[in-house]
Symmetry: C2
Subunit: 559 residues, 2 copies
């Protein structure tokens, strides 16, 4: 079992900081990088510029999903990586095979390398963030900062993307609908699945089907049964255990009771169904499940026919359980027209509830829907006034089908105290040079108005003091803003060789996401044609940027 590394030893059982990365991080190590980081490091070292002080910014250029906001996630993973950054002996041996002819002293240099000379300013995990603003600003010796690039990008890119996706589902579904992540089977392997569970929870999901995510991160775990369970019962003969202990300790035959309840309903309420249409096996499966989980009865009702079989068997078992003193939870549908079916199911539940005052709870049991649900499906279902209480979402959520990559980049913005710019024919791809700080400006309404980038040695904006905010690239776009409140976005998270904060729990980060989204104006959040949020620069940074740009842009020559 050597290869089966189990997180046993480190698992206390609930989500806490030490736990977030258990197991998952067996792979987060210096070699989880692109080879060119290593070959560049050698060139820096060989050129004796490896220790030049450098600053790299990690940022993205465009919000995902045609939206106008992003949730920043993955910071703790980045900090843990930096904290533990160390090449092992076998890493060095392997690198030697990749780099024949390289001077041996270089490997000695790698062996000694750690991140004690690195400083990381970052935005708090779970914050709402926007294009061009550095999520992380990494400074320190050129070669070490360069070596962190790929791993940091890997840790931020997908985490932020899927957290943003989850937040969009949450906005679409509204605050009350239960959202469950069911994506493990469609994720990019085991860790892709775990990362999805973790960051969807941060983004606003209520639970996951992924048991290991529950164990490692303390995320609520949910789930009931699959079609294969229902299909495992064909007829009464397959139901070997029918005896059932009621809440007050009497033994009864739950199957017989459910059959009686079903006959009752079919007598009393005419739903156009003949008893030959109602599946025998399905009722047996429901009874078996109810016997196992009398307090957790949630039945999958679409294996045969939702309205001509599933809902009848479901109600029958609900009534039987209720008579035995238990309260059923609800039902799930995984196919068909989810809005129509949910309304038809609710109508039937209400029909039965109206038969007797003591059955009023039945009208309110949970209806869970799954099957290829995406953000648009939820919005469309809302318009159709569905009766769904809970969505189970898999593929579209975890694969981020609409845009499967965020596209964060990591750009050198200063070296040896000289600002650097990455030029490009596309203005959108030009990076903002120099070491910067970012502030979020809030208006009188309490909503954020814009973010402003300043050079790191500029005086921060202050509440009550007007500030000129400029578009970084369009000269004529500028505005005077009077902040009611100024929030510095960048904090020192890594310095002096250690993490500078008690990192928040997953639940804290999840709450932070909700608070942050609440503070963002609705027009930035809406699904259709949202308003872009402004990211501006100070007058000084504007002038600095444009002077560096001109210094670096070659003067073309026309024939």
């Amino acid at each position: 079992m050597a290869f089966l590394l189990r997180p046993e030893t480190m698992n206390g059982g609930t989500a806490s900081n030490g736990l977030h990365l258990n197991g998952q991080d067996s792979l987060v190590q210096p070699l989880l990088t692109d080879f060119y980081q290593i070959s560049m490091t050698y060139s820096y070292w060989r050129s004796q510029i490896h220790n030049e002080p450098a600053v790299f910014d990690l940022f993205f250029r465009k919000n995902p999903f045609q939206g106008e906001f992003t949730i920043f996630a993955g910071l703790e993973d980045c900090l843990r990586f930096v904290e533990n950054f160390k090449f092992s002996v076998s890493d060095i041996d392997f690198l030697r095979t990749l780099l024949p002819g390289v001077e041996e002293d270089f490997f000695e240099y790698l062996k000694e390398m750690d991140c004690s000379a690195v400083t990381i300013h970052a935005i708090t995990e779970g914050s709402v963030v926007f294009p061009k603003v550095p999520l992380l600003s990494v400074s320190g010796p050129l070669a070490i900062c360069q070596l962190l690039e790929t791993t940091l990008l890997n840790l931020v890119n997908y985490s932020s993307l899927v957290a943003t996706n989850a937040a969009r589902f949450r906005l679409a579904a509204g605050p009350k609908t239960n959202l469950l992540e069911f994506g493990l089977r469609r994720a990019q392997g085991p860790n892709g699945g775990l990362a999805a569970s973790k960051y969807c929870y941060i983004g606003g999901f209520d639970g996951t089907s992924n048991v290991l995510a529950g164990k490692l991160f303390g995320i609520p775990v949910k789930g009931t049964q699959a079609h294969s369970f229902i299909c495992s019962f064909s007829a009464e003969k397959d139901l070997r255990v029918r005896e059932f202990k009621t809440k007050d300790g009497k033994m009864i035959d739950l199957y017989a009771l459910a059959m009686k309840k079903r006959d009752d309903i079919m007598d009393k309420l005419f739903w156009g169904v003949s008893s030959s249409e109602v599946s025998e096996g399905e009722l047996c499966a429901f009874v078996a499940y109810a016997i196992a989980f009398p307090n957790g009865f949630l039945a999958l009702i679409d294996t045969y026919d939702v309205l001509r079989s599933g809902v009848l068997n479901f109600i029958a078992v609900c009534l039987a359980l209720s008579e035995c003193g238990y309260r059923p939870i609800g039902c799930r549908i995984d196919s068909g027209d989810l809005s129509y079916l949910s309304k038809e199911i609710r109508a039937r539940l209400r029909n039965v509830a109206e038969l007797d005052e003591s059955l009023s709870w039945l009208a309110k049991v949970t209806i869970v829907a799954s099957n290829d649900i995406n953000e648009e499906t939820i919005i469309s279902l809302n318009e159709q006034k569905h009766e769904i209480d809970s969505f189970g979402v898999g593929t579209h959520l975890v694969t981020c089908q609409k845009q499967p990559a965020l596209g964060c980049v990591y750009k050198l913005v200063a070296i040896a105290n000289e600002a650097k710019i990455k030029l490009s024919q596309e203005v959108a791809k030009i990076s903002i040079p120099g070491r910067k700080m970012c502030y979020r400006i809030y208006g009188r309404s309490g909503s954020s108005i814009l973010d402003i980038l300043l050079l790191h040695d500029e005086k921060p904006p202050e509440a009550g003091h007007q500030i000129l905010c400029r578009h970084p690239f369009e000269e004529s776009k500028r505005a005077l803003v009077l902040p009611s409140r100024v929030e510095p976005l960048h904090k020192l998270f890594w310095g002096d060789g250690k993490i500078q904060y008690d990192l928040p729990t997953l639940a804290d980060i999840r709450t932070h996401v909700r608070v942050e989204l609440d503070r963002l104006r609705n027009d930035h959040k809406r699904q259709l044609n949202p308003t872009p949020y402004k990211v501006s620069v100070s007058e000084r940074l504007y002038n600095f940027l444009h002077s560096i740009w001109l210094q670096n842009a070659p003067i073309g020559q026309l024939d």
Copy 2:
């Protein structure tokens, strides 16, 4: 460092079976599953049907990427999972918290559970496969087989999807073009990145930038430098080391030599470039890299302007290196019109090569292209007769942007020797009941004609004996086929509690993919409107399927 589980202890250094799963598999364990598998298992156990003999098929319903073939991958991961399937003490403790009120004997049952009673027939990893054909057929006690579902799906889904994607890139690029996987920074976390590297290699890529994938799986590792490296040098003053040892041991100033070469070329060949346009910093960066890697010089030439700066500096350093006895490798472009630029670069290389016979090698150095490359880009570049020798592909490859999930399913097809069918309003979603075997029928040309599913106890088709092949759902579609060769697709991979084969190495699987694709007719492989490959059933299976279907389909009733 407790959480940083390193695969140190198990790593011999090269790819071999034991190694494939190192580290990566810290997460592949029984709890990496959907919770409903556990709750269903309890219900089966509580109903005393947990030991009923069951058969589950793992298959997909539609080829990905609008194509007509799929590469099956992930089998070894599945077998290792099954081999090591065991709940730990802390797993059981955690499940106890999720399942209050569950009988304690159930946990004893879980504790003892392993896969020794499970049998897995599967198709060889790396085979070309088609919809509806079981990739794995898992038989054994109902509850255990049920518990394997999610993890097996997770291990097969993404692996097969990305291997198929890689194979499609390979088909588009042709057999000679070098394909490199650069996707780590855009993958679903660390393990998503590693899985991508591994299965892209299987699918036909030549190497990866992911160093850890090189260490763990023995995949060739490639890469050179990023824009940040080029930007780290602004002017001559930044080049602290210029001395360079020629192949025959003389010390020279490589920068001075490269400058001289550049002036020479600019004198001799008029490319409409003035020397003010050629970046000084870029030349310094190239010289620094060449000093570090005289035998591995591959320069990124698009930081400033490919044709007015990069290519000139590149050629200058190539000529200088060559004069010192070294042979440069090539250059990389990461932006712009890749076809146009590659042709212009090649033309300039040829211009210079024509100046002197001893420079003929220069015309043939490698041109690498990267930047948002997908299958269509490659096809379009081919039509434009590009001059690219090697593609670096990231985002589109690893995220499978065109279709980020394969959609494998795991369906119960028999229980207690009774065949089961999963009905659906959509015919495409109906599963084929019963335990089956699949054979691939080859025609006289050596290409495969079709696959045929038979009931497991039917006599296999034989070469030279005509067989009737039927469409599973369309009565009128049937054909008599005379096989030249018959290949049984399903082999027993897991039985008697152990893996039944010496599993192939990654390189073997990669070769198998190539051979399999060669045997598939071109019309199934082409990118535009490919011909669907036929998956048929035997006469007996056809009749069996339709009788079970009728038995199970409810008789509707019209008002």
